[in-house]
């Protein structure tokens, strides 16, 4: 089982990652995105960003449950994918939605909180994308690198708030995303809590000796 998964996971992930892009591009060119294709593209690229981000955050729990340490490489792959979807989302916004109307764009970012928070979510991903190579891990050292990459949690929260505030009334979909991220966060909180108490016992054990 492990060998099969290990052999096929990358091709399958590539397929999953590229399929939405291919689909959206085709639909866009064939004018199948409804009456307001730009809004639709914005919505889709934004949601795919959150999905990829959730997928990347799901790697660690799965890795710990299966003890497949090699999964760690998929985490960076999915994280980068999330970044590129975010970049696509921002490009649709800048090029198709506002057509490089920088003044309006800056006003929009400064005056409308959901846009501000969305920008924050994106900006926080930039250093993570830049340090996604093996070389940067070696250069920073595992500990520092992990520390830096905890920014992804802030970005995910900002991304969810961005979606929640962008919606006019029916917040069902944002709530689904928030629920998924809450579960992914819960794993970490539980582990952190357990780890802390274990360290605590160890320390007291040492004292006893």
């Amino acid at each position: 089982m492990e060998r099969v998964v290990r052999r096929w996971i990358r091709p399958v992930l590539w397929l999953l990652v590229l399929a939405p892009v291919a689909l959206l591009a085709t639909q866009f060119l064939r004018d199948e995105l409804g009456a307001d294709p730009i809004e639709k593209l914005e919505m889709e690229t934004g949601q795919w960003t959150l999905r990829m981000l959730a997928a990347s955050l799901a790697v660690t729990p799965i890795m710990r449950l299966t003890r497949w340490g090699w999964l760690v490489a998929q985490r960076r792959f999915l994280g980068l994918t999330a970044f590129f979807y975010a970049l696509g989302h921002l490009s649709v916004y800048t090029v198709l939605d506002w057509f490089f109307d920088w003044r309006s764009i800056f006003e929009d970012i400064l005056e409308h909180l959901y846009v501000t928070v969305g920008m924050l979510a994106f900006v926080l991903m930039i250093p993570l994308a830049l340090t996604s190579t093996k070389r940067s891990i070696r250069w920073l050292g595992g500990k520092k690198w992990n520390r830096l990459h905890q920014l992804v949690y802030v970005s995910a929260v900002a991304g969810c708030i961005h979606f929640l505030w962008a919606v006019k009334k029916d917040i069902t979909e944002p709530l689904i995303y928030i629920g998924v991220f809450a579960v992914l966060f819960a794993f970490r909180i539980v582990w952190w809590w357990r780890g802390r108490s274990r360290v605590g016992t160890a320390v007291s054990g040492v004292t006893a000796v």
Binding site: A35, D36, S104, E111, A166, K169
Partner: protein, 320 residues
């Protein structure tokens, strides 16, 4: 601009779509001839026209409310498949699916409040004797997208006059049907049902206000608010209650759905105003469906000449 059709069209004759499309071409050409960016809608001419036609008897009349050089009528497919009608789902592509088979006959409208005699009208009786007109108006959604839609309907003032409101009536309230079995969106609590909207009497009696019964030369499709859809072209789209079953006259400003939900985001007046932003997005520009670049939003959606006087002396930043 006023586009008139030959006078020899009988009231019984339904305009075939091909003829209708020709009219659109004509409108386009006439628009191109017009000098200046925007040809002002000629409400007064429309009015004169309707009273004149009332004199000759019922007949279809084409009074055109809009159309400037750049303004093309939105694709019928877009206007009938992309709209907000939460009674049939909160997605803009949902009403067209979920409203399939929605029956609008029989249909009763209850007239209540400050009227000479509260009455339940069968829709046929309510519309009988009123002149049906074609009016092409800009439609501006509060979400910053817009369309140009050729509506067909009766002037709201004619419809309301028939209900004989008392002079003490200062406002009129419109209520949408509440029937979750027929409007599946009402099974959710997406909005507090039923949907209620309202106008000040002078707004309601303005010649541009229309009670639509059709669009694109056809009967109103259910997803667009059949059989009665209020059209107030200088206001954001949410003011236009759909599938209306109750009209009530009152001397107090009625509570309206979106205003009740979030009064900082949606005012009672909701006049299209590029200078007053929605707290979460700008209203300075809009995307005209079918066009790529955003276009500037006009005060009162381009009908300032006709309606601005209704709000003389009012602070439009406060009364948004």
């Amino acid at each position: 601009m006023l586009i008139r059709r030959p006078d020899d069209i009988a009231s019984s004759e339904i305009t075939p779509e091909s003829v209708y499309l020709d009219r659109r071409k004509f409108v386009g050409k006439a628009g191109a001839l017009a000098i200046g960016a925007m040809v002002a809608p000629t409400a007064l001419q429309a009015m004169a026209c309707s009273s004149e036609s009332a004199a000759v008897g019922e007949r279809r009349d084409s009074a055109n409310g809009v159309v400037g050089q750049e303004e093309k009528v939105t694709d019928e497919k877009d206007a009938t498949s992309y709209n907000n009608f939460y009674e049939f789902g909160t997605g803009k592509d949902e009403p067209v699916e979920n409203a399939k088979g929605f029956r609008t006959s029989p249909w009763t409208v209850s007239v209540e409040g400050m009227v000479k005699k509260p009455t339940k009208f069968a829709i046929e009786d309510l519309l009988r004797g009123l002149t049906v007109q074609d009016r092409t108006y800009r439609h501006r959604c509060v979400e910053a997208w817009s369309m140009v839609i050729p509506w067909r309907g009766v002037p709201l003032r004619d419809l309301l006059a028939k209900m004989e409101p008392l002079p003490s009536a200062k406002f009129v309230e419109f209520t949408t049907l509440f029937d979750p079995n027929r409007m599946p969106g009402q099974k959710t609590n997406a909005l507090p049902w039923p949907y209620v909207e309202g106008l000040r009497m002078d707004e309601a009696m303005h010649p541009l206000a229309l009670m639509a019964t059709g669009m694109y030369g056809k009967t109103l499709p259910p997803q667009n608010g059949a059989p009665l859809h209020l059209i107030v072209p200088w206001k954001y789209g949410f003011k236009g209650a759909k599938s209306i079953v109750k009209i009530r006259f009152t001397d107090k400003m009625p509570r309206t759905t979106w205003n009740d939900l979030a009064s900082n985001e949606y005012g009672f007046y909701a006049n299209v105003n590029p200078d007053v932003d929605h707290p979460r997005w700008s209203q300075a520009q809009e995307r005209r469906i079918g066009q790529f670049r955003k276009i500037p939003t006009l005060p009162f959606n381009g009908y300032a000449k006709e309606v601005a006087s209704l709000y003389a002396g009012m602070d439009l930043r406060k009364n948004y």
